[in-house]
Symmetry: C2
Subunit: 319 residues, 2 copies
Amino acid sequence: MSFHKHLRIYEDLITPYDQIRSGFISLALEKNKKATPFIEEAKALKVLASRAKDPKELLTINNINDALLTAAGISGKAKNHLRESDKQEAIRNLLENFLEPSGNSFIDELVYRFLLTRGDALGGRIRNLAGALGLWGFTRVFISTCSVRGLNLQYLDIKSQHWMAYNFEPEIEKQVKGLHWISDHHERTLIYNLTVPTVKKNVDICLLNASPHDITLGKNKDSAHYQSENYLALGELKGGIDPAGADEHWKTANSALGRIRKAFSDQNCYPKMFFIGAAIADHMAQEIYQQLNDRRLTNAANLTNEEQVVSLCDWLLNL
Amino acid sequence: MSFHKHLRIYEDLITPYDQIRSGFISLALEKNKKATPFIEEAKALKVLASRAKDPKELLTINNINDALLTAAGISGKAKNHLRESDKQEAIRNLLENFLEPSGNSFIDELVYRFLLTRGDALGGRIRNLAGALGLWGFTRVFISTCSVRGLNLQYLDIKSQHWMAYNFEPEIEKQVKGLHWISDHHERTLIYNLTVPTVKKNVDICLLNASPHDITLGKNKDSAHYQSENYLALGELKGGIDPAGADEHWKTANSALGRIRKAFSDQNCYPKMFFIGAAIADHMAQEIYQQLNDRRLTNAANLTNEEQVVSLCDWLLNL
DNA sequence: TAAACTCGAGTAA
DNA sequence: GTTACTCGAGTTT
């Protein structure tokens, strides 16, 4: 069985401690970079708000209404669910309960509360970035594995949505929405984050037995990705490094994989399924290994272990 | 089937829009309250840090080392995974890349970066609170349902870990780790967030056919909760209101319920299973309803619909 | 440096 | 406004 090439025992899947440490360090570095614009926002808010002599005057200043709402503890997400009157009420509460009681220092109070809410926003953005970093890491390994084989690659550019020839551009992984190659006269296309019509859900990594010419993303029902038979393999990738989230996110992935399996088997299709995770803890490693043994999963790898990921990519190239 | 008392069609499970709006408003109010100590921290940091003439001098000030680390973008969680040298490196980066370049305003830069990180911390704390609020809401309904029946209740006090008689104390729900009553000469004990030995996992709500005398929490293997046969029902409760999280967290709950079902059936035990969620979207409502129909679940309710929760509590009281 | 819980801060389609 | 993705900020035991 394919996974045996890189996994002898279930413990091989467990993330080594040092990878966790270095994962958190990388993430903190990214966070600091992304923090700068948030700091600039706060400085700008301080300048604008300083024109007000007292909290009530803040309401008369142009362009700080959104910032007031933010300082009132309303996230962008929450804002989407509020009515105009709710927003005004929130700002009124901010003034009454927090800014007016702080007297002369109401500007600092405002800016500080603004930053607290924005800090949560920054955290959210970083969590998305962490997921992207995981996928980029996988892509780098995948491309290298192809290069070793001397395969010609095309990639689907995420921005232009056009297929381009790959020519060893650095940081190409950040542009890749899909990859295409020909192997043993078979057309193969890998697509990331594809809404698979069979399951009506997004799947992180999909390997299709199809040429890019036959695939038009979007809701074109003639596209090859509308045919269940064209799917060779589907995988979930979890790029997060936090061990406290490992089991939580594996449970999610497990349900997602179950939905995929069910939807395809309802069509009498049985594509291979795989899981790649950066944070893998003991108990979930056992569950994953169990699923490999009973064929619910065909392959799995720890994203922090390059050898495992190479072996998994090699397996994908052989499908 | 018991769920039919409050669910006629799967759509009955879907959260009405207005509940989402009011849920976000309540959460923002809680967040503002909890934000105040974070603001105080920042003010204190500003005072202490202002003793430094330049960024390097910050290193000589007592008691602000943790705050420097926080300003360097290291969360409490990340800190747990770092070595001492990593922490010093992080602080060095903060000074070099962000504080020194900002010249005279390095104090504000420091405090602002501190607040960004703390804002993420506040968000985390609020997410925990949101879960507790959900459980408290369930508890209030459960207690009311018992009161209507004229049942005498004991509750397990979360702090003292002792069982006490319930006498209509206000806000009692915040103290409740478990409830006990006698119904038709049967001893019944409900325990929250119990690590169920059968599954070796925590379960949100467990109904045991046992008296409190027979239960000692912790790892006493003579306790009634070590016997799979003593479990009448186990349920997952998801108190979050965010519709964007609804499917995500249902997938987690679904895997958790699957593990429970598997662990008990391996012991030839088949306790009832149930799900209560505050944010229920269309597709997951269909999945839940399907599981009710095929008996994987015996009951389910939308936490924002009091009638549904009362009916579910009534069912628990009849088990 | 265990293990498994809380949930919404973002994001994209 | 829909749906479902990203994942770690806390927390407890």
